[in-house]
């Protein structure tokens, strides 16, 4: 990996890694009487391993080729590997916590393995570990190809990728140790948050500098989505995580936002993390890999622009629909509901645009499981955005809120949309990056597709059922006018669905493991693309085994 760096760049990399090690040492000393010390040691180890890797090939030969004449793909390859590793970890944690809800003794009486500590390892593992690494890797790929320019840095892409993974490691090890801010999807504590700001600013600078290298005045729309993802996530992250630590030696901090303000800021963040992390970034993937794989231009470029601004504008208003009927002022709830419903327009415009792009290439969707991943993703995107707008309507929300319906909705989006579009994009990207004829096994892609679809459907149907039953039981009255069911009655009714949900998740996990194996074998054993100099995906006809 270092063969592409000049000796002065290797020096810079070593200084950076050494600096991180030093910061770790300071954290370890400052926080020696707190869990912060443990994290200091983890940072030191991380910095140390990277330093060691840089030093190991420090005196290797200088890069011979003219680097400006080729794309910078090494960080992308590592990013894909990390994304898949996190996928397996995060989904395994998901299956485990799902099983704990049905069989609570699966926590084995330890502190670190109880539901409350494991749950954020699942959410952060899949959202940030899997989703984040996939976004970084694909954004590096898309920005280079659409700008026809090499990444505007040699060390900074590694800094972004590895720095982001350090954040993930700190966040997730923290939850196991009991370090959490309790803000959903922003659980990591102040020092990890500060670190992420540094990484994220670098990411933004790198991205914009690469775009500025392009020849064409127009920026391709996929980059718009990636830029919105990078920028808005930075704003959200900083505002939501403003906090003061108990001391420099404590992992614990107190947020500056109290009570109702905190609730509004948290769900402004929480909902827009969905919007800009889990939607905008992945729409960037969709707008590049779907047309490329289908070998058809996007149906309507104008529509993609209109829906881009619609999503960027509307989403920011919608967060308060998480707080219907609470102590939040009523007008804020109403605004949130209104904009959530309006959001359906740009969301369906995107989903429709994707499906209409495929119109006329349905035979390819039938034959090519990779393209089918992306088509199914667009369908699930349409379904879950409809569901989301529906659930944001106050009376519907009065039934669905606090129940498993919300969990089902999130997973319709996360499994059906985010994960499927990612797998589709990675199956397109992996053979092209490693210059293979195609994936090692088209059959395994097919198997993965059906496992993913079956897993998602089982999961979502189980949660719809349990959520609606739960919501109805809570509000059912007897003829005498008293509540018909105790809370416990509603819990007992949930058990069969909790088991079904864990099974659905397990299928999805198995699919991801098969995907890892297939990608690994593609890199190891698939035949090289013979004379194909072109950097385009293989047409389905050329995929062996079909």
């Amino acid at each position: 990996m270092l063969a592409n760096l000049t000796s002065s760049e290797r020096q810079n990399a070593l200084i950076l890694a050494g600096g991180v090690t030093l910061v770790g040492a300071v954290m370890a000393i400052m926080g020696r009487s707190d869990v912060l010390g443990v994290h200091g040691v983890i940072v030191m180890l991380f910095g140390g391993v990277v330093s060691w890797m840089v030093m190991a090939s420090f005196y290797g030969p200088e890069p011979a080729e003219d680097r400006a004449a080729s794309y910078y793909d090494d960080p992308i390859k590592v990013g894909i590997a990390l994304a898949m590793a996190w996928a397996v970890f995060g989904m395994f944690m998901g299956v485990w916590v799902a099983a704990q809800l049905a069989w609570p003794d699966l926590a084995f009486d330890a502190a670190w393995s109880s539901f409350g500590r494991l749950r954020p390892t699942h959410t952060s593992g899949v959202i940030f570990g899997f989703g984040g690494n996939a976004l970084i890797a694909t954004s590096f790929h898309v920005v280079q190809r659409t700008s026809r320019a090499r990444l505007a840095g040699q060390v900074s892409p590694w800094f972004v990728l590895l720095g982001f993974n350090l954040f993930c490691v700190l966040a997730i090890s923290g939850y196991l140790l009991g370090v959490t801010q309790s803000k959903e999807y922003a659980e990591a504590e102040w020092y990890a948050d500060l670190w992420l700001v540094i990484v994220w600013v670098t990411y933004f600078m790198l991205y914009i500098a690469t775009i500025a290298r392009r020849k064409e005045p127009h920026i391709y729309v996929a980059n718009w989505y990636f830029m919105a993802f990078i920028l808005v996530v930075a704003i959200l992250h900083i505002v939501n995580n403003l906090a003061i630590p108990v001391s420099w030696g404590h992992a614990k901090s107190y947020t500056i936002w109290p009570g109702v303000q905190d609730a509004m800021v948290q769900w402004w963040y929480g909902h827009n993390a969905v919007a800009f992390f889990l939607t905008a970034g992945f729409l960037g993937m969709l707008y590049y890999y779907l047309p490329v794989r289908a070998q058809r231009p996007i149906f309507s470029y104008r529509l993609s622009i209109l829906s881009f601004w619609g999503i960027t504008f509307f989403y920011m208003w919608a967060g308060s629909h998480h707080l219907h009927y609470t102590a939040l002022p009523h007008w804020v709830q109403t605004l949130g509901m209104t904009f959530s419903v309006m959001l359906l327009v740009p969301s369906w415009a995107s989903a429709g645009n994707a499906l209409l792009t495929l119109n006329g290439a349905w035979h390819r969707v039938r034959d090519d499981a990779t393209l089918r991943f992306m088509m199914a993703a667009a369908v699930f995107y349409g379904l879950s955005t409809f569901e989301g707008s529906f659930m944001a309507i106050r009376p519907v929300n009065s039934l669905s809120h606090y129940t498993d319906w919300t969990v089902g909705h999130v997973h319709a989006g996360a499994l059906g949309w985010v994960a499927l579009i990612t797998f589709g994009s990675l199956y397109t990207l992996v053979p092209s990056l490693w210059k293979r004829e195609g994936m090692y096994s088209a059959t395994l892609v097919e198997v993965h597709f059906w496992l993913a679809i079956a897993g998602t459907l089982i999961y979502v149907f189980a949660m719809w059922n349990s959520g609606i039953i739960q919501g109805l039981m809570w509000r059912t009255y007897t003829e005498e006018g008293s509540l018909a069911y105790s809370f416990l009655d509603s819990l007992v009714a949930m058990y069969p669905y909790y088991i079904a949900r864990a099974f659905g998740g397990l299928l999805f996990l198995i699919g991801a493991v098969i995907g890892c194996y297939n990608m690994w074998m593609t890199v190891r054993a698939a035949p090289l693309a013979a004379t194909r100099a072109a950097d385009a995906p293989v047409l389905p006809a050329a995929v062996p085994g079909e």
Binding site: A68, R145, A149, R213, E216, H218, Y220, Y301, I305, L306
Partner: protein, 57 residues
């Protein structure tokens, strides 16, 4: 200057709406401006062109 809660709410409700309408007018103008048509067409076809190297100055 001290803003009361009511003023802020009224301001948010009215100007937020105008801002949104103005913004969307601009976006529509941009998307449907005839001169931009060629640029968009080139963009949507450009990603399908096969290339393996960055452009060189």
């Amino acid at each position: 200057m001290d803003f009361s809660y009511e003023t802020l709410v009224a301001f948010s409700k009215s100007w937020g709406l105008f801002y949104m309408m103005g913004f969307f007018l601009c976006v529509c103008v941009y998307a449907f401006w005839p001169r931009n048509r060629k640029r968009f067409d080139r963009a949507k076809h450009s990603i399908l062109e096969r290339d393996d190297t960055p452009w060189q100055k």
